[in-house]
C-alpha cells in the first residue's frame, strides 16, 4: 500500500488527481491518497507520515510548493519520500528551482490522467523494490 499526500488548493484538481491515481490498472499494491488543501494543511499532515510520495502544486497562496519541498527535504522522517511537483505555468524557472530544491519530478498542467499515473508509477516503483 503506497501512501500519497496530495497538496493542492483547487478542489476539482484534487478530485482529478485522486481519480487518476485510484483508477486504471495499478501496478503498485494499491494507493492511499491523503488530501491537503493548502501548504499549512500539508504541514499538519506530514508528521503523520512518512509518505511514499508527495504530489504538490507549486502555485498555492500562502506556502507555495517550492517552500514545501524544501521543508520536506529538511525533514528526517521523509528522507525517502518522493516529491512530484505540478504546476499551472510551464515555467522553466519553477522547474529548475523545484528540482534543485530536491523534487524528484515535475509535471506541467494540463496533463492527462495517464501521464500522472505513469509518473506516479515510476516514482513509487523504486520504493517497493
Amino acid at each position: 500500500m503506497s501512501r500519497i499526500l496530495l497538496v493542492e488548493d483547487s478542489f476539482s484538481m484534487r478530485a482529478f488527481v485522486r481519480s487518476a491515481l485510484e483508477s486504471g490498472d495499478t501496478l503498485f499494491t494499491g494507493v492511499e491518497v491523503v488530501e491537503a488543501s493548502s501548504g499549512f494543511d500539508a504541514l499538519r499532515l506530514l508528521p503523520r507520515g512518512p509518505y511514499d510520495l508527495v504530489i504538490t502544486d507549486i502555485n498555492m497562496p500562502d506556502i507555495n510548493g517550492l517552500e514545501l519541498v524544501r521543508f520536506i527535504r529538511k525533514s528526517d522522517q521523509h528522507k525517502n519520500t518522493k516529491v512530484l511537483l505540478i504546476s499551472t505555468q510551464s515555467s522553466e524557472k519553477d522547474r529548475e528551482r523545484g528540482m534543485s530544491l530536491g523534487a524528484d519530478a515535475y509535471l506541467a498542467k494540463p496533463f492527462s490522467p495517464e501521464s500522472l499515473r505513469e509518473e506516479a508509477r515510476l516514482l513509487l516503483a523504486r520504493v517497493t523494490e
Binding site: 483547487s10 476539482s12 484538481m13 493548502s38 499549512f40 506556502i63 517552500e67 521543508f71 528551482r97 530544491l101
Partner: protein, 703 residues
Amino acid sequence: MTDPTDKAREEFFSEAQEIIETLSKNLLALDASLREEFSDPGLVNEAFRAVHTLKGLAGLFGAASMGMLSHRLEDVLDALRLGRIELTPSILDVLFQAVEVYGKVLAAEKDPEEDAAPLVEAMLVEFERIGAGATRDQSPTAEYDLDPGLLAVLTEYEEHRLRTNIENKMRLYRLRVQFDLATIDKALEEMKERAKRHGEIITYLPTGETASVDSIELDLLLASQDDLAMLIGALGADNVVIEEINRRNATVMPGTIKPAPMLRSRATSLPGKDEELQPLRMGDDTGLEASGSLKSLTQTVRVDIHKLDHLMNIVGELAIVRGALASISERLREEGQRQLGAELQRLHRSFDRRLSEMQDGILEVRMVPLGQVFDRLARVVRQISRELSKEIRLVITGADTEIDKLIVEELSDPLMHMIRNAIDHGIESIQRRQEVGKPDAGTIALNAFQKGNHVMIEIEDDGRGIDEQALIERAIKSRKIASSDAKELSREEVLNLIFLPGLSTREEAGDLSGRGVGMDIVKTNISKLGGVIDVHSEAGIGTKMTITLPITLAIVSALLIRVGGQVFAVPLSSVSEALAFDASGVHVVDGREVMTLRGATLPLCRLDRLLRVQDPAAAGMRRFVVVASMGTRRLGLIVDHLYGQQDIVIKPLGRSLADVRGFAGATDLGDQHVGLVLDVGALIEEVLTGSELSRERKMYADG
C-alpha cells in the same frame, strides 16, 4: 457505471462556479473603488489569479472555450494590474460581460445542447479592442539584493510580485511568527488581515525551526510603505519578530542569521498589544466590502443539499418512531406493566432529547448566508442602473445572516423583482431628484437580520414612494375594489393593494419589470416559504418592504386530515381547535356558510369543494371542522376525517407548481406516499377575500 473522471468533472463545474462568483464579487468591489476614486491594486490582482486558476482548470478538464476565454481575459487583467492599461468604467463593463459569458460557457460545458461559441467570439473581439496584446510582462530585473536562498523558494509569480514592489520603492520586511498548529488557520487569517492593511504579503516560508512539535514558525515576507516602528506598533506581539530587509548591502537569510540585537531589543520593548488601525479601504457607507472576508476554506466541507434533505427525512421518520415509543410506554402502564412502562418512558425522553439535538445540528448545516443572494442582486442593480441611466447606491447590511439553503434559492427571484421595481418606479430621474433636493444617486438599502425564529429582510429606497391615489384608481379600474369602498380603506390596506393580481398596466408588463411577474406572485412565493411581506411608504420620501421568513423549513407539528380521499397536513400552529361537524348548525349569511362557535360566527369552507376533490365514499359519514386561524381571521375547514398529530418536514413545491394556490408544500407520509401541506393563510385569504371581492364586483356591476 460512472467514470471516476466524471466525478472530478462535477467538482470542476462546482469549483468553476465558485471562482466565477468570487470574480464577480471582486469586480463589484472594483466598481465601488472606482467610484470612490480609490484604487486597490490587490483587487485586480485577485481577479487575475481567479482567471488564471480557471484557465488552468479548463485546460485540465478539456473545456476549450473556457480555456480560450480565460487565456485572453488573463492577458487583459495582466495589463491592468501592471498599469499598462487604465481601468475605466467601460473596461469594467467588459469585465462584467465576461463574467456573464463565463456563466454561459459553463452551462454549455454541462449541457452540449447549449452553444456559447458566438458569445465567446464577441468577448474576444472586445478584448482585442481594449488593446491587450499577447505580450506578457517583461519588466527588467530591478536592482535588489536578496538572499538567494529566499529567491530559490519563490515561484516565478511571487518573484514578479516582489520585483514590482521593489520597483515601486516599497520596503521589505520579514515577520517571524510562531503559531500553534492547532489554531494556525484562524491565527494566520488574523495576522494576514492585519498585515494586509500595511502592504502586500509576498510569501510565507516555514523556517523549519520550531519550539515544539505542536507549533510552527513562519516567515512572512511583507512589502510595505510603512516604517519599521509603525509596523512594530501595529503588528508586534509576543510571538512576532519584525525586521527590515535591506536592499543594498547586508542581506538577511531567513532561518540562519540571527537578527541584529539592536533591532531585536526594539522589537521586544514595545507593548505586546496591537492597536486597531483604520482600514485603508473605502468607508462603510458604500456597504460593499471587498472580498477580504472569505472564510478559511480548510474548515469547511462542501455538502450536497440533497444529502442533507435525506438526513432530514431520516430525522423526520425517527420523530415518528419517537411518537410510537411514547404511546407504547403509555399502553404498557395502562396494562399494568408499570416498571416496563417507566423504563420505556425514560428511553423515550432521552431519545427525544438526542433527536432534537440532531435535528438542530442538521438544520444548522443547511444554513447559508444571505450574502449569496445579495451578491447576485448587486450585479443586477448595476446592470439596471446603467440601462435606465439612474445612479444607484446599493447598501447591503447583514449579508452574513443565515437562512435555510432551500429558502435562499427561492428568494432571488422575488428580491430581484422588488429591486427592479424600486429602481424603475421608485427612484426618480437625476433631474427630478435634484429638483426636490435629494442626492443625485438613489439609495437602495438591503438589510437582513435575525429576529427570534425568523429572518427579516428589508428593501428600502429613498425614491418617490408609492402613489396611493394612483394605486386606488388603478384598483378601481381593474375592478378589484368598488369606488365607494375606496374611502373606507386604511392606509395599510391601500398600500397592500399592490399585491392584488392583475393590476399591471402599460409599463409594468414591459421587459424591465420582468415578463409580467407582478407583486402578487412575489407575495405568493414568499408565502410559499412560510413568510409574509409588509409595505411601508411615504410620498416623496421612499418605500420600504419588509419580508419575514422562518429561518428554516423545519420540522413542524401538523394535523393530518383526509378530504376527498386524499391526506393533507395542516400545520398545528395555524389550528386553534378541531371538533365534530354538526350540519344542523350551519346557516347562510351573505352568501356564505357559517356556524356559531361559542357565541362567535365562524365562516366555513367545504374543503372538498374548494379543492375540487370529491370523495363519494365519504358521503353520509361523520365529518369534522378544523378551526384554522391566521392572525385575527378564522376559518372552519370541513374535512372528512382526522388522523391525528404528526411531526412533518415541509418540502417546498417546485417552480413548476408555482401557479397552484393553497399549499405550503408537501411532506413524506411514509412508505413513499406524499401528502400536501395546506397553506392556511392563503386559504383563508382566498375564501374570505374572494367572497368579499365577488360580492363587490356584483355590487359594482349593479351600479
